[in-house]
Symmetry: C2
Subunit: 303 residues, 2 copies
């Protein structure tokens, strides 16, 4: 436990599941904070090596590790991956002790989160949902923005740990899915920015306006926004690899939004365009490019 932590956690050990492009640097920051002893688990154990070198213990027997921990983090890609480790025999619901906390940090469906929260409650366990904004570079720097929702006492316990991965940590209430709504709405707005840039630059190219100059002028005149400028430049330069965020994941997130909207009879015309645009991009072979390759889709169709 770090003597300097602003508000020490009452928990001294935890299990971390997920060592992908985001999970790896996030767990690494948690380890180096010295706030907690961390065991780490991943479907592909080879990915855990950097975390073991940093001082984490490798968990090979997930079922046993779960039964010995008061706290488990999951940073997994989608609902299916979380469902797998949560609902399998010997998984989180089965083995996490009563009173244990599951902090679920991926970008997941709010409906799945509501369902998982209820199952945890039935087991006497607690679900905290804490999705993050930021790409791997911000995960490495520990400057993610974290949206956290769940029961107050559990949020109090894990907040100092979340702060090792990013700040601010926005606490948005006691219903876990609230955090997921905010996360997927945020990604939806980024999708809207991409579509806006994609169409603007496609027309700019056709009328002989320099895409790079257009982005510079509009950011200076109107936006003053690093996000506007960064995505604008990726599209102006058509530099879609390496991807910061795959087009396939963009499709996943716009689907999450459209499904929630559909349940509530909310029409999202921009959402429908994004869905069709990302699908078109994937079918043209851009699925593992940055989702800003939506610009290429619009350029293709502008001739």
């Amino acid at each position: 436990m770090n003597e300097n932590s602003e508000k020490p956690s009452n928990i001294s050990e935890a299990l971390w599941i997920g060592a992908g492009n985001m999970g790896l640097p996030m767990a690494s920051n948690l380890i180096s904070s010295n706030k907690i002893r961390l065991s780490v688990h991943n479907r592909t154990p080879g990915r855990l090596l950097p975390l073991e070198k940093a001082g984490a213990r490798r968990s090979d027997d997930l079922s046993r590790s779960l039964s010995e921990t008061p706290l488990v983090f999951t940073m997994l890609a989608d609902d299916a991956a979380v469902r797998d480790v949560a609902e399998r025999p010997g998984g989180i619901l089965d083995k996490l002790p009563a009173g244990g906390i599951h902090v679920c940090m991926g970008t997941l469906s709010p409906t799945f989160m509501d369902m998982l929260s209820e199952k945890h409650q039935q087991k006497g366990q607690v679900l905290v949902s804490a999705p993050v904004f930021g790409r791997p570079d911000r995960a490495k720097a520990g400057t993610l923005t974290i949206i956290a929702a769940g029961p107050t006492a559990a949020l109090d316990s894990v907040e100092p740990l979340l702060k090792t991965m990013g700040s601010p940590v926005f606490r948005v209430g006691d219903t876990p899915s609230r955090a997921n709504y905010i996360k997927i709405l945020g990604n939806f707005t980024l999708g809207g920015l991409l579509e806006t840039l994609a169409e603007s630059l496609a027309l700019a190219r056709k009328v002989g306006v320099s895409p790079g100059q257009l982005i510079e002028i509009l950011d200076t005149a109107l936006y003053h926004s690093p996000v506007f400028r960064a995505y604008g430049q990726i599209m102006a330069e058509e530099k879609f690899e390496p991807a910061g965020f795959w087009m396939r994941l963009g499709l996943k997130d716009v689907r999450l939004v459209l499904r929630e909207a559909d349940k509530l009879d909310v029409s999202l015309p921009l959402g429908d365009i994004l869905h069709a645009g990302f699908l078109a991009g994937i079918h043209r072979g851009y699925g593992e490019w940055d989702w800003a390759a939506l610009g290429r889709v619009r350029d293709d169709d502008a001739g």
Copy 2:
């Protein structure tokens, strides 16, 4: 002529046409710069009173004023208004002396600008197109962003005068319509931001996420943009009056973009949504509300 001007204009007098919500503060800043003697003309002469008090001379006989000036500014609402003063007998094309410069500062159609430029050339006159980004508050403060295109010598002459109304002045080449493309593409991107916010907030309300909190979190986590925050807050608070920019004008500008795109066989799916959304808003009585009332349109339809 102001001794302190960084690059004095070689022109000592000019005529200003247009005293609307933008033209009035822009002309006022030009007068108070003392860089030039200004005559002013407006279809409704009563609007000119503040400019006369500031030291401008009122031009009642437009034809005569034009024949005596080396430089005329127009800050008028649309193509039709400029066409009227430019093409009527005794108008700008008819009376501006050979070598005279017409600086056209409204948000106009690039196609119209190309046509007008050719007509000016046939008369030995020069067209500079210099549309602006910024609402009336920025016009008053003299902090507009100005996009200027036209022959180099003419741009050199008028740039010190443009700088009394805003900076930076972006010079984007010698084809006047280039400036108009950038201006209408810029407004198109703002329309895209409005649609994005409108759909996001409509869904947020339905799922119980506070619109104000969503805007705060997303601006902190992702955008860091005064424009994102300002339009987000207008929509979150549903404060569509007083309007900074009418929905009717939003429709006008998206039509300018769609018409140029259509000529070039460029499809703009987001543009089509904006066109339908602004039209719907106008038919529901929101035409003189701020164009952010696109949020109300999406809320209406989300039930």
